[in-house]
Symmetry: C2
């Protein structure tokens, strides 16, 4: 609608995507704008704290973005919805529990409950998750509208992260089918070697998929059987979160 705003947002996205080394020309090209327009927009972003100009002509995304996100997480408090369910889930497993929400064509963590284990997973709240190779991601992907699924499972989107990542659209279609049938989803070292997860989808008040809960652990301590045996409690936790978000009941039969 408002052209210059659209352009500015696009510039901001490019800035983040190319961080931490974005130079004006590249930004302009990536955003499909003329240098002068890009320059003006970037200046505005800098002035407002959404970008910073580093020496050497590099531009970086500004901390204001982090600041907004921080406030937002606090204010919206997505995690309150999942918190109770996560704590309950923690009674059933000593492993790390994550809550992630969908955001554009990826998901990201909004809450995490550390496992009662000596090791720690290298994850932080805010970290983004690919939809095609993570437990939360695939759980979400499986419940997206068919059109979006098609987009997101195009061959060039299925980037391999490990040897086990599903990169074939057909296999992915089968996988998503199974996820819908089972109600949960396994990530068997598809995102990171040595990490196995089980995930289940969470729905919002429109009945649309909103995010997912997952339990993750090193493969050595967390066999496929261990993971699968958690499915019932995980699904229960996910459903209780959906309920807290006001999701309509008994999805899957309608």
């Amino acid at each position: 609608m408002t052209q210059s705003v659209q352009r500015a947002l696009r510039v901001m996205e490019v800035l983040v995507a190319k961080a931490p080394r974005a130079v004006l020309g590249d930004i302009a090209k990536a955003a499909g704008l003329t240098p002068s327009t890009t320059y003006r927009i970037v200046q505005t972003l800098v002035q407002e704290g959404y970008a910073t100009a580093e020496e050497g002509g590099y531009y970086q995304p500004g901390s204001r973005i982090l600041s907004l996100a921080g406030q937002m997480v606090t204010a919206m408090d997505y995690s309150t919805y999942a918190r109770a369910a996560m704590l309950e889930l923690q009674e059933h497993t000593p492993e790390t529990i994550h809550f992630g929400v969908l955001s554009g064509d990826q998901a990201h963590y909004v809450d995490k409950l550390e496992g009662r284990r000596p090791y720690r997973l290298a994850s932080v709240v805010g970290m983004s998750l690919k939809l095609h190779c993570t437990a939360i991601g695939k759980a979400i992907l499986a419940h997206l509208p068919p059109g979006r699924i098609a987009e997101l499972t195009a061959p060039d989107r299925l980037v391999a992260h490990t040897r086990k990542t599903i990169t074939d659209p057909e296999r992915m279609a089968t996988e998503l089918e199974r996820i819908r049938a089972q109600g949960f989803c396994i990530d068997d070292e598809e995102d990171r070697d040595g990490v196995r997860c089980i995930g289940a989808p969470v729905f919002d008040h429109h009945g649309q998929v909103f995010g997912g809960l997952s339990v993750s652990a090193p493969t050595m301590q967390f066999t496929l059987q261990d993971a699968i045996s958690l499915a019932p409690v995980l699904i229960a936790a996910a459903e209780s979160t959906s309920a807290a978000l006001g999701a309509p009941r008994n999805r899957g039969n309608d």
Copy 2:
């Protein structure tokens, strides 16, 4: 510079500030814009994923903001700068270590190292910190330019969080003076009851204050003496982080 972009950013900020219940009229008033302009901007934000329109006429900040912040944390990886120092610091204390960076008129966590203790602090990466009542915050505040300090320590900014929060500008001025002299800073239940922290500032390559490191723990297990005795190693960790960020040497004598 670019009016409509400035306005859009302002609208986005208002949206976050008023989350999760912002109605068009309020947004317009808070942003100082006419309803029609606000409407157009909000529509643009919605279309781009920076806002969502909820039923009942409520607008909420969109998950795209979180998504950008998530990518940004990953891409910029502020935490790499502090990681080594934090791990080193962890050798000297079993308590929780935080790294926070300045962002506008607050700070927020970008990394956290869980303490080797049975309890956990309710903090997550991304969480925002007030500058006037947290260890990292005050460490930063003390090293801001005098003008900013004046702004940020105006009586109405010094909001009490606990009985011990410093709300008197004069006392705050003295406190900041001491922080500059000592090189570290104590938060003695000023932000949360039962939590005591020690913090030290981190500087960037311009020599400007960039963030801070802190060690936090429940007061019962972490006396004032315990905290103060950590000062040397904490300061060393902060200085090593500053060095990693390319900060000029021997600050404080010039």
